[in-house]
């Protein structure tokens, strides 16, 4: 530590205070990013434990150890925790928080106190959800569909709903902070089209956060009012329409899918350019396609209700629009792939995660076209096909990129390198373990196995066992980084300012960065991704 401190112009953010309160009440965006990182890692393993139990239970057609009711509670807590307490905050609140100010050449976010407040709000929300889990759980599924959640469920719907409601405000405040920061705090010379594509995609995500999340808040408030105050809105006896609930819920939750996947796309652009040493192919198109995905994401929510009683004509329109969202997504994938052409591709662990993302995201995206077709969806909806589809996007896509980002920026965040070989091994294990887990689920869904049941016909057992076998690989692969990254914190090789030889303002400052990020506000005179790095203002260090 002392040797490092001597070399640095000023103390790193990690050395800026060692007390607990210097962390819990820090307004430094980098420290808040670490706070988020620790808390969502905790939630990741809570949700992961639930997933492990689900896969264990499904080993046998008659179920292994759970009652119907316990199984319902298990998949609900898996969904609620993974969606709202891991996936949505995952990349934006850790890497976004850490990197956005640095990437645009600012000293902090626009509203640092608000940033800290949003972490505390997140923790409060987490307490409610964990409490709901501990006192008995919720059996509604993560979607809290009315009228079941409002009139019939005997689970602890209210604390869970309050938890998610509060978590929404953390999301909104973070999105707001990012939007204002990106608009108003860019360094001199950092024009919109000089921004790294990471920033563009997080900006698009933030717009979705700010505009969609409040609708979820209202929806959950209506559940609360119906369950607690008896003010029914979706009660069919009164002429209420449960499909209205689904409209409100998916008006938020479909865009929320893009809150989860756009940040992964943000990371992809950085990884592909850094490990191909090339400017991302078609920079502007990739930037605009982020905004297009965010915008189109608001026009497709009805495809969750094709069989729920929605009008056929509305279904038709929603179906068509859902197909159109494949266009900007495909543009991105093609552009990342084209970035590799004539590039100096190096297959370090983050790059392996990125390549894994491309494979899994393409499968997930293409299977999305299947379920977007109204006719086919009648057969596939509420089967394991849908489960496999969205896990390919959210787990195959987003979680792969989350780990890619973690490995890529680990040296920047901690000043230490992780063990490269273990990183590569983990990337491969996650990719193949994932395929083994979820490919069989496509087939199961195609054959008609419905989701949310723990009993199934014996002929489905082979595929279910394969899926559980894959899940056990994933369990190991997701736990490994916890161990070796933890080890590297103390014993990892010291990383220089720019261990990857990558472009971007974050690599021009020391690792770990000083409290104020930049000694003086940088003046940007170059485009994004100026590969090959000509002026070499950076210290190049060989990757191990």
């Amino acid at each position: 530590m002392t040797a490092e401190a001597k070399a640095l112009p000023s103390k790193s953010y990690l050395e800026d205070g060692y007390t607990l309160s210097s962390w819990f009440f820090s307004t430094d965006h980098k420290r808040i990013a670490i706070l988020y990182f620790v808390s969502i890692t905790l939630f990741f393993f809570v949700g992961g434990a639930a997933a492990t139990l689900i896969r264990l239970e499904l080993l046998s057609p008659t179920g292994l150890f759970l009652s119907n009711d316990a199984y319902n509670r298990l998949f609900t807590i898996h969904g609620v925790v993974m969606v709202w307490f891991f996936l949505i905050p995952s990349i934006p609140n850790t890497f976004g928080n850490f990197l956005i100010p640095i990437m645009i050449g600012a000293k902090d976010l626009a509203f640092p106190k608000l940033n800290l407040a949003s972490w505390w709000i997140f923790v409060l929300a987490g307490c409610f959800v964990i409490a709901a889990l501990l006192i008995g759980g919720v059996d509604t599924g993560w979607t809290f569909y009315a009228p079941f959640s409002t009139m019939f469920s005997n689970g602890y719907v209210v604390p869970a709903v309050i938890g998610v409601f509060i978590a929404g405000f953390s999301t909104i405040l973070t999105g707001l902070n990012f939007i204002v920061t990106i608009h108003k705090l860019r360094a001199p010379g950092m024009t919109w089209f000089r921004l790294p594509l990471f920033v563009w995609a997080i900006y698009a995500t933030s717009l979705v956060m700010v505009l969609a999340t409040p609708v979820l808040a209202t929806t959950l408030m209506l559940i609360f009012a119906e369950r607690v105050l008896g003010l029914g809105f979706f009660d069919p006896k009164l002429g209420g329409d449960p499909v209205l609930y689904q409209h409100l819920f998916w008006f938020y939750s479909h865009p929320a899918v893009y809150i989860m996947v756009l940040p992964a796309m943000a990371v992809m652009s950085e990884l592909m350019s850094a490990f191909c040493k090339r400017r991302v192919f078609g920079y502007k198109v990739v930037a605009y396609s982020s905004l297009a995905i965010a915008g189109l994401g608001f026009l497709v929510w009805g495809h969750h209700m094709f069989v729920a009683g929605e009008s056929v004509y509305a279904g038709l329109v929603f179906s068509l629009l859902s197909f159109s969202i494949a266009v900007p997504s495909a543009i991105k994938v093609f552009n990342w792939t084209a970035t590799m052409r004539k590039g100096y591709v190096s297959l370090d662990a983050p790059m392996l995660f990125a390549l894994g993302f491309i494979g899994l995201f393409v499968i997930g995206g293409l299977s999305g076209l299947f379920v977007a077709a109204t006719g086919l969806d009648v057969h596939l909806t509420r089967t394991y096909f849908v489960i496999a589809h969205f896990h390919f996007i959210m787990v195959g896509g987003t979680v792969s990129c989350y780990f890619g980002a973690l490995h890529f920026w680990w040296p920047k965040m901690t000043g230490r390198m992780y063990p490269e070989m273990l990183g590569r091994g983990t990337a491969l294990m996650i990719f193949f373990g994932f395929i083994l887990t979820f490919m069989p689920q496509f087939i199961l869904g195609w054959l008609g196995m419905p989701r949310r049941y723990h009993l199934y016909p014996p002929e489905f057992q082979v595929l279910n066992v394969l899926s559980s076998a894959g899940a056990s690989i994933l369990a190991v692969a997701y736990t490994l980084p916890l161990i070796y990254l933890g080890w590297s914190l103390f014993y990892g090789k010291r990383a220089g300012a720019n261990p990857w030889g990558a472009a971007g303002l974050e690599w021009l400052i020391p690792s770990p960065p000083p409290r104020e990020n930049f000694e003086t506000v940088p003046v940007v005179t170059w485009e994004a991704y100026p590969y090959p790095l000509k002026p070499q203002p950076v210290e190049r260090k060989e990757t191990p």
């Binding site: 969609a212 029914g232 009660d235 002429g239």
Partner: protein, 213 residues
């Protein structure tokens, strides 16, 4: 509300940058709030459309004159708030203070009208989950009142927050901690929020009291 003087925070380079960021932040927040209320209005629109007769019967139960007076009060408060922001920008302390106090009074008047309405309606059995029996035969009329109480309640809570914020400005002003025009942005932010809450009512009033009449 920040307790610091209008000094520029370290992440900003100049005061105008900080001002622009504060303004944009508040508008983005209001965008978010608009979507929150938008979902309430959407639910109301759907039920107005699928149960026109029941909504008509339910609307007739509301006291239109009280609704209209309340709306006039809120519209006036929007103007006093705008006058307060204007005066604050010009550093006219007394004028700001009078306009802010006027705004608080008008806001409290609206809340008083609303609370009176609620008691009145409760007495007539229009609060479906409790109180005297619900007077209307149509089941969907209950839906209307469920939404009525949630939407007016949500609005009243927002307005109460606004009243507290403006009252806070009055206290800061009297105790001399609100230096004007330097801290005009604080008044402006509170004003934007206040006027947004008024706009919500501008739409709630016709949606609840007029459209299905």
């Amino acid at each position: 509300m920040s307790d610091a003087l209008p000094a520029v925070h370290e992440q900003y380079q100049v005061a105008t940058q900080q001002l622009a960021a504060d303004r944009l932040g508040l508008w983005v927040f209001l965008a978010s709030e608009a979507m929150l209320f938008g979902a309430v209005f959407f639910s109301l629109a759907v039920y107005h459309y699928i149960h026109p007769a029941a909504m008509h019967a339910a609307t007739d139960q509301l006291d239109l004159s009280m609704g209209a007076v309340g709306t006039a009060v809120l519209l006036s408060s929007s103007t006093t708030m705008a006058l307060a922001v204007k005066a604050a920008g010009e550093g006219r302390r007394w004028e700001t203070l009078v306009a802010l106090i006027g705004t608080v009074v008008l806001g409290l008047a609206f809340e008083a009208i609303k609370v009176h309405d609620w008691f009145d309606e409760f007495g007539k059995g229009l609060y479906p989950p409790a109180g005297p029996p619900f007077p209307l035969p149509q089941p969907a009329a209950r839906l209307f009142f469920h939404l009525y109480f949630v939407s007016t309640g949500l609005h009243a809570v927002h307005l109460a927050v606004g009243i507290l914020l403006v009252a806070g400005l009055v206290i800061m002003q009297v105790s001399g901690r609100l230096t004007l025009p330097e801290r005009m942005v604080t008044v402006e932010m509170v004003g934007l929020y206040w006027q947004f809450v008024d706009i919500v009512w501008i739409f709630l009033y016709p949606t609840l009291y007029l459209v299905s009449r």
